[in-house]
């Protein structure tokens, strides 16, 4: 697709606004696949996969309606989701919706397991479908960014951030991945990610940040060490965990702005 300069400008603006679009370096669920670096070439396939998934979900819900929970095999929802390439495409490009998909899958499964009314199950199915189609839209937009050279290649190895500002960007990505892993019900993975993000990334930033805004560091310290891990430990809902992460993300944005301002006023070495 050829993009005019106006469109590129729009995309650049969107890129700034939609902070969720980031090239993730690794994902937790096995091989990413080179297809994520060629999104445009694979959009048709992703669209077919989303259609296939929604039909599979609908099949499970219909079976539930006709023959009950046991016959529906709702655990197959996760297997179907993990089988498609689209899975990696959304995880590497927009982890916020990726988390919503997992949340939707478990909501449909949970409502069937609990033998909820068909109306309730269909309501959860509708939310899941909405997340899947939103995800396809997000991947299509990411494909445009990629074609315009605005997305970094998805890498299989992580590079260490060069400074605190870069580290804050990675921290923001990591905590949103925590929501995704929590939505996948990978509780230990989510907890470890919080701990590792604090120790390996935030701990390196806060020394610099505290010299500018001690109260902000204190807030984030509490978020990393108490609020977020406690919410995970206490099995709070995905929405509650997401709310905590969203609040942390806002604080991280403020931290980034403070460090960027400091950077502008930093004296030269020589």
């Amino acid at each position: 697709m050829k993009l005019g300069s106006k469109n590129i400008q729009k995309l650049l603006t969107s890129l700034v606004l939609i902070a969720g679009f980031t090239a993730f370096q690794t994902v937790a669920n096995g091989d990413v696949g080179e297809h994520v670096n060629h999104l445009s070439d694979n959009i048709k396939k992703y669209e077919e996969e989303v259609n296939w998934l929604t039909s599979k979900v609908d099949g499970i819900v219909t079976t539930y309606q006709k023959s009950g929970a046991k016959a529906a095999h709702p655990e197959a929802l996760m297997e179907h989701w993990e089988a498609v390439d689209f899975h990696a495409a959304i995880e590497t490009n927009y982890v916020l919706i990726y988390a919503s998909i997992w949340q939707g899958l478990y909501a449909v499964k949970g409502s069937i397991d609990e033998k909820s009314s068909i109306a309730d199950v269909k309501a959860e199915e509708a939310k899941l479908n909405k997340a899947l189609w939103q995800a396809l839209g997000a991947v299509k937009m990411a494909a445009k960014y990629q074609d315009a050279g605005l997305l970094a290649q998805v890498k299989t190895t992580e590079e260490a951030p060069k400074n605190s500002i870069e580290a804050l960007v990675v921290i923001d990505e990591k905590i949103h991945s925590v929501v995704a892993k929590y939505a996948e019900q990978l509780i230990d993975t989510a907890t470890t990610m919080v701990h590792d993000t604090y120790l390996n990334l935030f701990e390196g930033v806060e020394g610099e940040l505290i010299a500018i805004d001690a109260n902000l560091v204190e807030d984030l310290e509490k978020d990393f060490n108490v609020t977020l891990p406690l919410a995970i430990k206490n099995n709070k809902s995905v929405d509650e965990v997401r709310d905590i992460v969203t609040a942390m993300s806002t604080k991280l944005s403020k931290a980034k702005m403070l460090l960027e301002n400091k950077e502008k006023n930093k004296k030269d070495v020589f």
Partner: protein, 345 residues
């Protein structure tokens, strides 16, 4: 009353400098710090393995050096210091040396490489720029950090903070510590070397009964400031940074005397290949400008020349750090075993 060795930071510094019990140690005067204006231009290429630390300040220094030397190419591999040290060891075992230089945030990792005989000897005129306690044949400390006892003056008076680290568990003070933290483990290694394994184990067990655990040392200092505890164990710069962001913070610094509690540790650099460019590159890091920058921006202690410490910390002649070979701090494994056996980790 316990004999005290405390330095109240910031406003009291001028007074403290005059106190007679703060006798100067053997920090013989180094040669005057050299300006980058007097250094040769760097040419050619170098590969630097850079240990993570100090946010982007090391990067700022490297960028400034590159900008000043347009005919010089610097390739950088970044990562955690310990991981890079292991990479260097593995590469040496495989018969390859990818890196020309290794800049590590702690001397323990340096000691690992030096101990394996991989570091090149440095010229005397370079090492003589450093304070005498920090002169080594095959590596150059860049900047220092002091182990301290940050305390909350609204909860405890300075004279109640012991000047003997081994006496800390016997005090009535509530304490914060971060035993999983790398700097803390280097401090315990120093204690093992100075006091022996038995005394260190006893100290750890006693501390474990009363100290409150935190993930990192900034967390320790913040807990002291909030009044959760009376005193903590942490590197000096966390207190200075917190006081910079919160000038009215309830925080002061105390120092022990002639023991691991007042250890002065250092970041450092070594050359893995013999090269004039590599040696000259090190001279840039020891220059007056870089030393002053790291002191001003990261609150690290300058170790080259006769440069003042960051505001709020006494000079090295005013405290009583233990005499210890920093490269011995590389021996971390027995420290971790000992800490695990003591139930601390």
């Amino acid at each position: 009353m316990q004999r005290r060795t405390f330095i109240k930071t910031l406003s009291y510094l001028g007074v403290v400098s005059a106190l007679p019990f703060l006798s100067a140690q053997s920090f013989a005067a180094p040669s005057k710090a050299i300006s980058v204006d007097d250094l040769p231009e760097l040419t050619g290429e170098l590969t630097l393995y850079l240990g993570r630390g100090e946010g982007g300040l090391y990067e700022d220094v490297l960028n400034a050096i590159k900008k000043r030397n347009p005919n010089f190419t610097l390739r950088i591999r970044r990562g955690p210091t310990a991981a890079l040290a292991n990479t260097i060891m593995a590469e040496a075992k495989a018969g390859v040396r990818q890196a020309d230089l290794f800049w590590a945030v702690d001397s323990g990792a340096i000691g690992q490489i030096v101990g394996a005989g991989l570091a090149q000897k440095l010229p005397n005129d370079l090492t003589e720029q450093l304070q005498s306690e920090f002169r080594f044949n095959d590596w150059a400390p860049i900047s220092g950090r002091i182990r301290t006892l940050p305390y909350n003056p609204t909860r405890v008076t300075a004279d109640k903070v012991p000047d003997d680290i081994m006496a800390l568990p016997d005090s009535d003070l509530s304490i914060a510590w971060a035993p999983a933290y790398a700097s803390f483990q280097s401090f315990i290694t120093a204690m093992r070397i100075l006091e022996g394994d038995d005394a260190t184990t006893k100290w750890l067990k006693a501390m474990n009964k009363k100290a409150k655990k935190y993930a990192g040392e900034l967390g320790v200092v913040m807990a002291v400031e909030r009044g959760e505890v009376d005193v903590g164990l942490a590197n000096h710069y966390y207190t200075l940074r917190l006081k910079s962001g919160k000038p009215d913070a309830n925080l002061d610094l105390a120092f022990t005397k002639n023991d691991a509690g007042c250890l002065v540790n250092a970041s450092g650099i070594l050359a893995l290949k013999q090269s004039k460019t590599a040696t000259d590159f090190m001279r840039y890091l020891l220059s007056k400008e870089v030393q002053t920058y790291l002191s001003g921006e990261a609150y690290e202690i300058p170790l080259a020349g006769q440069l003042p410490p960051p505001s709020g910390i006494p000079s090295l002649t005013e405290i009583s750090p233990p005499a210890i070979d920093l490269t011995k701090l590389a021996d971390l494994r027995p420290t971790l075993v000992l800490m695990r056996n003591a139930g601390v980790l």
